[in-house]
Symmetry: C2
Subunit: 147 residues, 2 copies
DNA sequence: CAGGTTCACTCCAATATTGCAAGTGACTAA
DNA sequence: TTAGTCACTTGCAATATTGGAGTGAACCTG
């Protein structure tokens, strides 16, 4: 009776959530994307030590983060995002935009900027074919392809 | 000792996750975006009845879904996405793209198409100022604005 | 050099959530 | 009459989360 694994489902959304869909996990990814590296930095998010330690272990196992020594005597480690982890930026960006538009409260969290021009980027849905931005009303569901 | 609420944090990402960050919830949103409406349809996702019923109730309370009667004697209800719920498409799209690129397995899930041209859209990070697509390497974290 | 502090954890007990199975109630179809 | 559908509810055991205390190595303070 373990918590149901979504890892083997034939759906990339489910497989993503199997890795980053547990409580607290995407907030760790958020902070990593916004510059946090050390255990003590991630602790400020607000979860207990045991949760943080197990989440970090899972994220390292899943190759979202990698554990790297930054000091000897005593050995201390920090957690750096891998390419796989950095690729989660659109997920975090989409959640941030949704929260800004549809929830109440302020936004004291850090952010990222486009290095070249210094401005904040946004996430958008764009048609791969006609290359125009697509609104939610222009989207039409099509039936399952077999499962 | 309830599960910690993220609803009151000064971060839109945390507030979003408070609403849709529980286990199974985004898979319900996925199916709703891809056309599911009825309890029995959502049940195929694979969760138990008690979980499904409580998740649907939470999503209705959060105004992601609305419960609408589609039959009398006996009264039966279906769950329809609100505008607030439809606005979660970029989150689902970003998770899907990440899962396609970074996890192994096939994709038998349904999809959506751009109604005007019939092609599948994608999610991208684009600079609000210079209006170019931004790669993960071009993003730079900047420090917290106060909390 | 005793005592306190930092950092990155581990361990424990109480409570909450999840998983699974079975049951319910209002019908309809055979 | 019996079975089936649909949208749930209830109960119990297994697992996860919470919050706090403890650990160990090394530094810093007087």
């Amino acid at each position: 009776m373990r918590k149901t694994s979504l890892a083997d489902l034939p759906c990339p959304i489910a497989r993503s959530l199997d890795i980053v869909g547990e409580w607290w996990t995407l907030l760790i990814v958020r902070d990593a994307l916004f510059g946090s590296r050390r255990y003590e930095e991630f602790k400020r998010i607000g979860m207990g030590d045991n949760i943080l330690a197990t989440r970090l272990r899972r994220l390292v196992d899943a190759q979202i983060l990698c554990r790297s020594r930054y000091q000897r005597r005593p050995d201390r480690y920090e957690y750096l995002l891998t390419a796989r982890g950095r690729a989660l930026m659109p997920v975090i960006g989409a959640l941030r935009q949704w929260g800004r538009e549809w929830t109440e409260g302020n936004d004291l969290s850090p952010t990222v900027i486009h290095d070249a021009c210094g401005h904040e980027p946004h996430v958008e849905v764009r048609c791969s074919d006609c290359d125009r931005e697509v609104t939610m009303a222009e989207l039409r569901p099509i039936p399952a392809q077999g499962g």
